[in-house]
């Protein structure tokens, strides 16, 4: 039997077992909710107090489905199945590239971009620009809670103009205008970052590396572990810096120190790789936990 046939067979067996478990653990793969009534009172100087009532829905476990006030949620159940389908579709790439994977990937990219755009519009353009420039109109349209004595902040015309200039890039003529706001952003970002990196990553790290080789406790006894730790840090930093110091030929003592630096770098890369592996396995177990627990109910 070909290897691919065996793998397919095993995947089908796993899939079949999954579906059997859904049948066995009925109620899983379904979402139940409890209706929570909410009441809020609102008043303003110009209108009398009004009471608003609405409901929110709190997800409950399937065990409570027969309790009073608990109902089946079709929309949330559909969401659960769509999430499970998308997870399996993305996993199918491990077997090989396929249309199902491509479709799900495209949906993910599209939904993420659209979501970020909508959130950005409501939190930035509406809240931080429109409401600052036209507060009276914003209060009438989107923010009834906004104070009536807020005045237009004309300083926000600058980001508005810069944004329009940036969008000019899409115009058929004069798209060079977009370079001006872009130059401003690049310059400002570089300036802000330079100072922070100098302060935190350069000066701060230098300060953190200035430490005693041998550490003593208050009663005068030597702290071996702390001393060893400090020594490793100092030797590690120094030898790695020597490795990247190319103005001197790496011969004699410099050669041995730089070689020690390579060892430290290798250990660092190994640790980074191991951390990355741990992260990826955590993500895998997160998705499998969703499939087994929330969807299949195993």
């Amino acid at each position: 039997m070909k290897q691919s046939t065996i793998i397919w067979t095993l995947l089908m067996v796993f899939g079949g077992l999954g579906l059997i478990s859904v049948q066995l653990f009925r109620g899983k793969g379904e979402v139940y909710v409890r209706e929570v009534p909410v009441e809020a009172k609102s008043s303003s100087k110009t209108s009398p107090e009004q009471t608003y009532r609405w409901s929110t829905y709190q997800e409950v476990s399937a065990k409570e489905k027969d309790d009073p006030g608990i109902s089946f949620s079709f929309s949330r159940t559909l969401g659960l199945w769509v999430a499970a389908f998308c997870t399996l579709a993305i996993f199918s790439f491990l077997y090989g590239d396929n249309p199902l994977y491509k479709f799900t990937e495209a949906v993910f990219v599209g939904v993420s971009a659209a979501y970020a755009m909508v959130v950005g519009f409501w939190t930035e353009i509406v809240t931080n620009l429109y409401a600052k420039l036209l507060p009276e109109l914003a209060r009438m349209s989107f923010f009834p809670d906004m104070e009536s004595d807020v005045h237009s902040d004309l300083l926000y015309l600058i980001p508005l103009v810069l944004s329009v200039l940036l969008l000019w890039r899409l115009a058929p003529k004069g798209n060079w205008i977009a370079r001006w706001p872009l130059a401003f952003f690049i310059g400002a970002t570089a300036g802000i970052r330079l100072i922070s990196y100098l302060e935190t990553d350069f000066i701060g790290q230098l300060q953190s590396t200035v430490m005693p080789f041998i550490v003593f406790s208050a009663d005068g006894s030597m702290l071996w572990f702390k001393s060893l730790k400090n020594t490793v840090v100092i030797v590690g930093v120094t030898s790695c810096m020597v490795y990247f110091f190319f103005s001197v030929e790496h011969e004699g003592i410099v050669k041995y120190i730089s070689r020690l630096g390579i060892w430290f770098l290798m250990v660092t890369f190994g640790a980074s790789f191991a951390y990355t592996v741990m992260g990826r396995i955590a993500l895998l177990s997160g998705r499998l936990d969703f499939l087994f627990n929330e969807w299949l109910g195993i």
């Binding site: 290897q3 691919s4 793998i7 095993l10 995947l11 709190q58 491990l94 077997y95 993420s112 979501y115 970020a116 959130v119 950005g120 939190t123 930035e124 809240t127 931080n128 409401a131 600052k132 989107f142 923010f143 809670d145 906004m146 104070e147 802000i192 970052r193 922070s196 990196y197 302060e199 935190t200 990553d201 701060g204 790290q205 300060q207 953190s208 660092t268 640790a271 980074s272 191991a274 951390y275 990355t276 592996v277 741990m278 992260g279 990826r280 396995i281 955590a282 993500l283 895998l284 177990s285 997160g286 998705r287 499998l288 936990d289 087994f292 195993i298």
Partner: protein, 286 residues
């Protein structure tokens, strides 16, 4: 045998990894965790504050990283709730809004006596702001320059928790959970380091080696990857044993079972790969 191993379809390895992660997950296998010094530093930073202190919780991640970071965010939330701290939620990631909602659900469902119906007095959701590190620079100096309203559009001057908060230098602790840029490093670069704001972070395994050099001078403590989350959960359970009854409070601990088996498998595969390499070299085929 060597020929079979040389031509082994990589999908067998994927399948083995699937089994290695699935079995302990289904069995619910957990292992005891001993909190490290870094994790204890995080625990102490939250726990040593007087009850009802002000904490900014910046959840800068999205559902793609939730498998690794959700246990940390949930553990931070539960620990703060146990201490009855006032929590300011915010995010620099658009999808972070849903992650914040997850933490708010924990507050309302598990600690209703302290938090239910106390929006604005015990916790506030500032939501998302675009601008990456620009937002951090603003909120550490003048919160209301960046955030004029909360996520519901309520003016910050009308919310008791934010009414008198000029900037986040005034809070007692900044807890950040981050999946990348903008996240932990930016909070250290523009927040904790220049302004000496006590900061603890929980980050992905990929970020951990970048963040570790900031300890202890520029960062109080770090939860590195799912291991850090599991140790933190254990530290909280050790101190608040009632939490052991809550299976949701052991998400990280449950995820460490698959970690162990998967790591053993990976180490075995690395050893096997090297054995194959040396066998090929001996035969002169490498």
């Amino acid at each position: 045998m060597l020929k079979i191993l040389q031509n082994l379809d990589r999908r067998w390895i994927f399948l083995t990894m699937f089994v290695a992660v699935s079995v302990p997950l289904i069995m619910g296998t957990t292992f005891p965790e001993t909190p490290s010094d870094q994790v204890l530093a995080v625990f102490d930073a939250v726990d040593n504050l007087p009850d009802g202190s002000n904490i900014v919780m910046a959840l800068d991640y999205d559902p793609a990283s939730a498998g690794e970071l959700q246990p940390m965010a949930s553990a931070f939330t539960r620990h703060c709730a146990l201490k009855k701290h006032n929590i300011y939620f915010m995010t620099l990631w658009p999808q972070g809004i849903n992650m914040i909602q997850g933490s708010i659900d924990i507050l309302n469902d598990e600690y209703p006596e302290t938090y239910k119906g106390k929006y604005g007095t015990k916790y506030v959701n500032l939501g998302f702001r675009a601008g990456n590190e620009g937002v951090i620079k603003l909120v550490v100096e003048d919160l209301k320059k960046s955030y004029t309203t909360d996520i519901h559009g309520t003016n910050l001057d009308n919310i008791p928790l934010t009414k008198n908060l000029k900037n986040i230098q005034q809070v007692d602790l900044l807890a950040n959970v981050s999946a990348g840029y903008p996240g932990s490093q930016e909070w250290v670069l523009y927040g904790s380091s220049p302004f000496d704001i006590p900061t603890v972070v929980g980050c992905t395994g990929v970020q951990a080696p970048i963040m570790l050099p900031y300890i202890p001078d520029q960062l109080t403590g770090i939860l590195a990857a799912i291991k850090g989350a599991a140790e933190y959960e254990q530290a909280i359970i050790n101190h608040y044993p009632d939490l052991a009854e809550n299976p949701k409070a052991k998400e990280g601990l449950i995820r460490m079972g698959p970690q162990l088996v998967a790591h053993v498998l990976l180490i075995s595969l690395i050893v096997l790969g090297n054995v194959i390499y040396f066998m090929e070299r001996r035969q002169g085929t490498a």
